[in-house]
Each structure stands twice: as structure tokens, then as C-alpha cells.
């Protein structure tokens, strides 16, 4: 099982101090956070993509390549890469490049993006979000698997005799996850290709995640990629920890109450009961996270949201320490002991390369 963190890259005022980090500070800090994720033993760092304030991450592969150069084992991913407004040709090129530079330590997560004004800035229409995601991904999938591509679609200029360069490392395309909160078409898309499905999980009650993952598993089997429990599932999670759980609640409350996404709405207590948000001791985080398996089955990747809502970088690094020292070792052991042998791990470059060599042998 892979454990990691994902960042939405928000630049938010710390409600307890009134301080807002500059873009320069926040960008430096994200690199520090990613490097520390590796130091404390996490497997994955995933970065969001946004093209509007108050977010900084418009160019994830640049940031991820810089992090790759300063890490050894950390798997670099996205949360998410906008398959609607980006040109799939540029995604193919950027991530193949990142794959070479990082030595294969890259996968990516496709998402549609739900910020209405962004679509027209890139010449697109949010109402065509699903058709864009389907057509653009079909092209991306082809560009990484066929050397010379002739292609015509609705949303982009046709391609004749085009080769996307660099070719994927060892001719093994990066593994792809498809992220969605509530669109069955996206679960279906992940199942159709035998790709991974990542449920954001953190903003909605668990029943939604359960239905979406169930749908993906059923359709994964329908398309002949294996049994439903062999589908590749990732989940988001959101935690804030202190050794004493009441300290965690007291410290996190002002950040929760003023958070850009859910601030000034439900109480912290309501939101923790309605969604997977866990604010408390490391043991509470362990117990809650192990419970995710009860409604999605054995899964392959767990990402936590730690750096958001104006939390200072020092606090985020302390959260990573607690995660790495007290939470992940227990989760790793417990999840691994429960997982049956026929349930695969999340694909990596090494495993995909080995599978390809075996198929060609």
C-alpha cells in the first residue's frame, strides 16, 4: 500500500496570525514539505493544478521535476491534472519528460476541474467537461502507446504523422488515475482503460465514495481487467493530529472555521462526523483510516491533505513527523496483513516494466 500527501496549493491567510505567505514563500515551502514527506517515509507526493488565485500551482511538472531532483524514492503525482483544459499533447510531452528526469518516479491523476471561469481562458466550455475528459484522455492514451499518431477529434486540431517526444521511459507510459467525486462517467472511464480510480473522499459523506468505488470495481471486471477486488483504488483523507486529541481540536478549529472550502459552514464536529476529516490523536487517525477499507475494500493508495487553509509550514512539517513516525508504520502493517494475495499493489514504473518484459518474453 502506498501512503502520501496531496496539496491543493492554496495560498491562504493564517487566521490565527493574519499572515499570508507570499507566492515565493509558499512555493519554497511546498518543496520543503515534499522533501520532508520522503524523509519521514511516505511514498507519494501529489500536487494540484490551478490557473487562478489564490493557488500557485499552474505548472505542476516544473515543481515536481525540481522535487524529483532533490529526492530519491518519492513517487511524484498530481491531484489533479486538468484533462479538460490542457492540451493532451502537452500533457503527453510534459509527463514523459518528467518520467525520464525522475527515473520513472511519476504517475498522474486526471481531473476535470470545477472552476467555471478557467475553461474559457483556455478556449473551452465547462458544459463539455465530460466529453472533453473522454476525448482528450483517449488521445493522451494513444500518444503514449503509438509512435506515429494520426488523429481527429472534436476539440483539438487534427494530428497527422505526429510523434510525441520524448517517448515514455522504457516505452512504459506513466500509470494514470482518474479522480472524480460524483461523475459515474469518470469511474467508467477508469474501468474501461483498466486505470486507477481515485476518490477525493474528503468533501463528501462516505456513502458517495462507496458508490463510486463500487461502480468502478464492477465495471473494471466488466471490461476484463480482473476481479472487482483487483481494481486499483486510491482515496483522499484529511487529518490534523496532536498527541493529545483535544490539543488537535483546539489548534485546528480556527483553520477549519475559516477554510476556503467549508469555512463558516458546518461545525468542526459536524464535518468530522459527516466526512473522513479526522482531528485528534495519531491513534484516532489510525482507527479512522483503517475503517475506510470497510466501505471501499482493499485499496492501493492513501493520500492525506495536510498543507492547506493557512496552516504554517512548521505545523505541516510536524504533522508529517507524526504521520511518518506514528501513523503510517501501523497503517502499513495493518493494511498489508489484511490484504489477500490476489489483490495487487498500485502499479509503479518498475512493476509495469516487469509486466511488459514478461509479456514480450
Amino acid at each position: 500500500m502506498q501512503f502520501g500527501i496531496f496539496s491543493v496549493s492554496d495560498i491562504t491567510t493564517d487566521p490565527t496570525t493574519g499572515q499570508t505567505p507570499t507566492e515565493a514563500e509558499r512555493i519554497k515551502n511546498i518543496v520543503t514539505i515534499a522533501k520532508h514527506a520522503e524523509e519521514v517515509g511516505l511514498d507519494v507526493f501529489a500536487l494540484g493544478e490551478h490557473h487562478n488565485e489564490p493557488f500557485f500551482s499552474s505548472s505542476p511538472t516544473t515543481t515536481l521535476a525540481y522535487i524529483a531532483a532533490q529526492t530519491d524514492k518519492l513517487l511524484l503525482s498530481t491531484a489533479t491534472t486538468l484533462i479538460t483544459t490542457n492540451d493532451p499533447v502537452k500533457i503527453a510531452e510534459d509527463f514523459a519528460m518528467l518520467q525520464h528526469l525522475s527515473g520513472g518516479r511519476v504517475d498522474l491523476m486526471m481531473g476535470r476541474g470545477n472552476t467555471g471561469p478557467v475553461y474559457p481562458w483556455f478556449g473551452k466550455d465547462i458544459r463539455a467537461g465530460i466529453p472533453l475528459a473522454i476525448e482528450n484522455y483517449a488521445l493522451l492514451h494513444k500518444l503514449w502507446r503509438e509512435h506515429v499518431v494520426d488523429w481527429q477529434g472534436k476539440f483539438r486540431t487534427p494530428l497527422q504523422s505526429f510523434t510525441s517526444t520524448p517517448r515514455p521511459l522504457d516505452d512504459v507510459p506513466p500509470f494514470v488515475w482518474h479522480g472524480s467525486i460524483r461523475s459515474p462517467e469518470i469511474a467508467e472511464q477508469a474501468a474501461f482503460y483498466g486505470d486507477g480510480f481515485f476518490a477525493n473522499h474528503i468533501f463528501w459523506p462516505k456513502e458517495h465514495t462507496q458508490r463510486m468505488v463500487g461502480l468502478y470495481r464492477e465495471r473494471f471486471a466488466h471490461y476484463g481487467h480482473g476481479d472487482p477486488d483487483q481494481a486499483i483504488v486510491g482515496l483522499g483523507g484529511q487529518v490534523f493530529m496532536r498527541r493529545n486529541s483535544q490539543d488537535a481540536v483546539n489548534e485546528f478549529r480556527p483553520y477549519f472555521d475559516n477554510a476556503p472550502v467549508y469555512g463558516h459552514g458546518p461545525s468542526l464536529e459536524e464535518f468530522t462526523s459527516q466526512t473522513p476529516l479526522t482531528v485528534g490523536s495519531p491513534q484516532q487517525v489510525i482507527d479512522r483510516t483503517l475503517g475506510f477499507r470497510d466501505y471501499v475494500g482493499d485499496y492501493q493508495r492513501q493520500l492525506f491533505l495536510l498543507d492547506h487553509a493557512g496552516l504554517p509550514v512548521k505545523t505541516v512539517l510536524e504533522q508529517l513527523d507524526l504521520l511518518g513516525e506514528e501513523v503510517i508504520p501501523v497503517l502499513r502493517k495493518e493494511f498489508d496483513s489484511m490484504k489477500p494475495a490476489h489483490v495487487p499493489d498500485a502499479p509503479t514504473h518498475a512493476s509495469l516494466l516487469a509486466a511488459r518484459q514478461e509479456a514480450n518474453a
Binding site: R182, H208, L215
Partner: protein, 199 residues
């Protein structure tokens, strides 16, 4: 006997509320008007859901009690919607409830609209505010809407015009239910097209 679900949404704020009184009389009259139908009645008091509705607007998902209410409306064979008139229109709470309802669930659903206010001068708010809102949602709003002002609750009108409007509107609602099949609720997670057709 046909089994059908009648859902009553009342946006009254006080206790007791004349909005709820009107809602109850409309529900009773609807049951009376459909002798071949056995109605299961669910009353949704929006006052109890006010915080949940605001939270849904902010977070994008309904807390459990609100989800039950939204599901009840989706599963209703007929809806009675009653609001107090505030500042010349439906109350903000009433509108917010329908704002967080999935936009397709009222499609083709029989709806009886009603309102209360302190003075009869507000009566056309039903026609210029509620009826267009439900028309937008593709509901089938029965021709008679029921408005009750303070005067209508007076002793001299207990058997008067208000009751005749209630009876008439309830009869129209029951007739719409009578000629329909029971409502079916679409599964929001169901994929309705073959993925290969999307490619």
C-alpha cells in the same frame, strides 16, 4: 388502493405557524380528494433544516437530515409547497431548499403551491414568484394556488372562500396523481450510456 407518497414542504418559522396550518389542511384535503389512493404523508419543516441548508450551500453536500428530506421530495408522487411571503416573494429559506434540490427531481411532478401573509395584497406573489420557479424546474403546478392572509383565518370565514380554494386545489392535485404511474427515482450513480458511445 394505489399507494402514493405525498410530501409537504412548509417554510413557516413561528410555532404554531399559519403556513404549517395551511399545509396541513391542504394535505388533509388531498387525502380526502383521492379516495382510490392511499397517501403516505411526509411533512418537511424547513425551520428544522435551516442550518443544514446553509451548510449544503457552502460545502456542496447535504447533512443526513437534509438528505432524507431531499430524497423524500425526489420520491414524492405529489408535492405541496407552502411558504410565508417575505418582502413580496417566497422566503429565502424556501428558495434555498429548492436551490439545493437536484434540478431534475421535480420534472413532471404534480405540485400544489400555497402561501401565507399578513395581507391579501401579497396574494399574487404565488403567481409571479412561486409558479415561475416551479415552471423552471419542470414541475406540473396545478392551476389553483392557495393564498391565505390574516383575514382568511378570521372566525367569519371558517367555512368560506379559503376552504373552497383548498378543496379545489387539492382535487386538482389528487387528479394529477390519479392519472400517473408511481414516481421512479433515477440513480445518480447510474451510467445511462455505453462508454464506447462516448468515445
Amino acid at each position: 388502493m394505489k399507494q402514493r407518497n405525498l410530501v409537504v414542504v412548509s417554510a413557516g418559522l413561528s410555532q404554531p405557524s399559519s403556513t404549517r396550518l395551511l399545509a396541513d389542511r391542504l394535505a388533509a384535503a388531498t387525502i380526502e380528494a383521492g379516495p382510490g389512493i392511499e397517501f403516505t404523508v411526509t411533512v418537511i419543516e424547513l425551520r428544522d433544516l435551516a442550518h443544514d441548508i446553509a451548510n449544503h450551500l457552502l460545502t456542496g453536500f447535504p447533512p443526513a437530515a437534509l438528505k432524507d428530506a431531499l430524497d423524500a421530495v425526489a420520491g414524492a408522487d405529489a408535492l405541496i409547497a407552502v411558504t410565508p411571503i417575505f418582502t413580496a416573494s417566497y422566503s429565502g429559506l424556501f428558495k434555498s431548499f429548492f436551490d439545493v434540490l437536484d434540478k431534475d427531481v421535480l420534472d413532471g411532478k404534480p405540485v400544489l403551491i400555497a402561501a401565507t401573509a399578513g395581507t391579501a395584497r401579497h396574494s399574487l406573489a404565488l403567481e409571479h414568484a412561486l409558479r415561475p420557479m416551479f415552471a423552471y424546474l419542470h414541475a406540473v403546478v396545478v392551476p389553483t394556488s392557495v393564498f391565505a392572509a390574516s383575514d382568511d383565518w378570521g372566525a367569519d370565514s371558517a367555512d368560506g372562500l379559503l376552504q373552497s380554494r383548498i378543496t379545489r386545489a387539492a382535487g386538482e392535485l389528487a387528479a394529477e396523481v390519479e392519472r400517473r404511474e408511481p414516481v421512479t427515482v433515477a440513480d445518480p450513480f447510474a451510467l445511462t450510456v455505453d462508454f464506447k458511445d462516448l468515445l
